[in-house]
Symmetry: C2
Subunit: 243 residues, 2 copies
């Protein structure tokens, strides 16, 4: 199956200019692909990673597991993302990864990646950049969950997901798949499930956006952006066409 390579090349190309040789090097990588059921874990806290994951389709989440059993979701990943590129130089995973809805993930041995990095430093830098973009998204999450009121948090998260989905060409019309439950939204944004519901209801009421049945519909993009104080600069992508 060619798709794993395609989505990776597409994604890295969003921020790094890849030479034909880099593309060839990536196409030579051997991926092992696997399908996961919703909420199925594929990397656990404490694992010692020897492979890197690549989201081929569906959505994937990273989360911390707290002593109380509560989860804290940290980030979400769409097709083309390397959700555990962070594990490349790390002894033990400090967080877990799971499929959000049904998802297809491809794995590649670190060993093989390191060889490719040596042969094509640009490829290595592209992956490094990828990890830095990840970090920028984390920073924004700190700010979002610490400094913004509830509605703004929700709006910001949805802006980010929608924007990234558009870049990954996963938006059709004004909607994209976001197979996430209210409980998970709460564990992402640090709010109680009741508040999640009421916040979503309010955004629905004002006709700004609608998130239900695993689908996000953005009705007033600029308004949503304003509410969430969303500025996509932190995603460090090539400027995108915004409606």
């Amino acid at each position: 199956m060619e798709k794993a390579h395609d989505v990776l090349i597409r994604n890295l190309g969003e921020h790094t200019k890849l030479a034909a040789e880099d593309v060839a090097e990536i196409r030579a990588l051997t991926f092992t692909q696997r399908d996961f059921a919703p909420n199925e874990d594929f990397i656990r806290q404490g694992d010692e990673p020897e492979h890197s994951a690549l989201v081929v389709s569906g959505m994937v989440a990273r989360y911390h597991l707290l002593g109380s059993g509560r989860r804290q979701y940290l980030a979400f990943h769409l097709s083309g993302d390397l959700p555990d590129s962070q594990g490349l130089f790390i002894d033990q995973m400090d967080h877990a990864l799971c499929a959000l809805g049904p998802a297809t993930v491809a794995f590649i041995p670190h060993r093989e990646l390191f060889i490719a990095f040596r042969r094509r430093p640009t490829f290595g830098q592209a992956v490094w950049r990828e990890t830095l973009r990840d970090a920028a998204i984390f920073r924004e999450a700190i700010t979002n969950n610490s400094a913004r009121p509830m509605q703004a948090r929700m709006a910001h998260l949805c802006c980010e997901l929608f924007y990234r989905a558009r870049v990954a060409q996963l938006v059709r019309g004004n909607r994209c798949r976001v197979p996430i439950s209210l409980t998970q939204l709460g564990e992402t944004l640090g709010m109680a499930i009741a508040t999640v519901n009421r916040t979503l209801a309010e955004l629905r009421r004002t006709g700004t956006m609608d998130l239900r049945e695993g689908e996000l519909i953005v009705l007033k993009w600029r308004e949503l952006q304003r509410l969430g104080d969303f500025n996509p600069a932190y995603l460090h992508l090539k400027p995108q066409l915004v409606r």
Copy 2:
């Protein structure tokens, strides 16, 4: 002045085994050193970085600036840290850096770093690792500010600062310098300044720790660790001796 090289080598050595050639390569780097006053910015949001910073002494902070003028502090850095290694492959800074107390920072051109990375890939990987540890700290901050009650947040932050200070050999007895104001603590942990004060007063009252006049004193380390649900694994350092 040799100190800049020393602290960098010490810091990278905490997680990466450097060969003599790597150390020599680092020693050959030309740093431009500068002193900064408390709260002085040295990198601003929107800057296009051409240099990397290295904290030589003192403490440095990274923050987001919100539309309202409020700041959200994202991370703190001690001597040896490369607080904007994130800027290496990034077009525009999405956050600012400032000195917390008086601080000395050394700068090195990206160009020179890239050359050194090519000559000594291990050095490049060490810096990459450094950026990944940064990201792990961000992740922990998301969890801290989203999922933990106020006292635990404070305890966790102080545990992290104290632990890292110890690794950087900045702890003497049970105390270390942390030149941070209540306002800044509030803008770090996402709490109102009154709450910051009350939380600190409570920790002081129970004799767990004391943070005042720019100095952190840890009186009951294990208790503080328990309160803050602090597990240093996420720092990805070599196991440290803990009292």
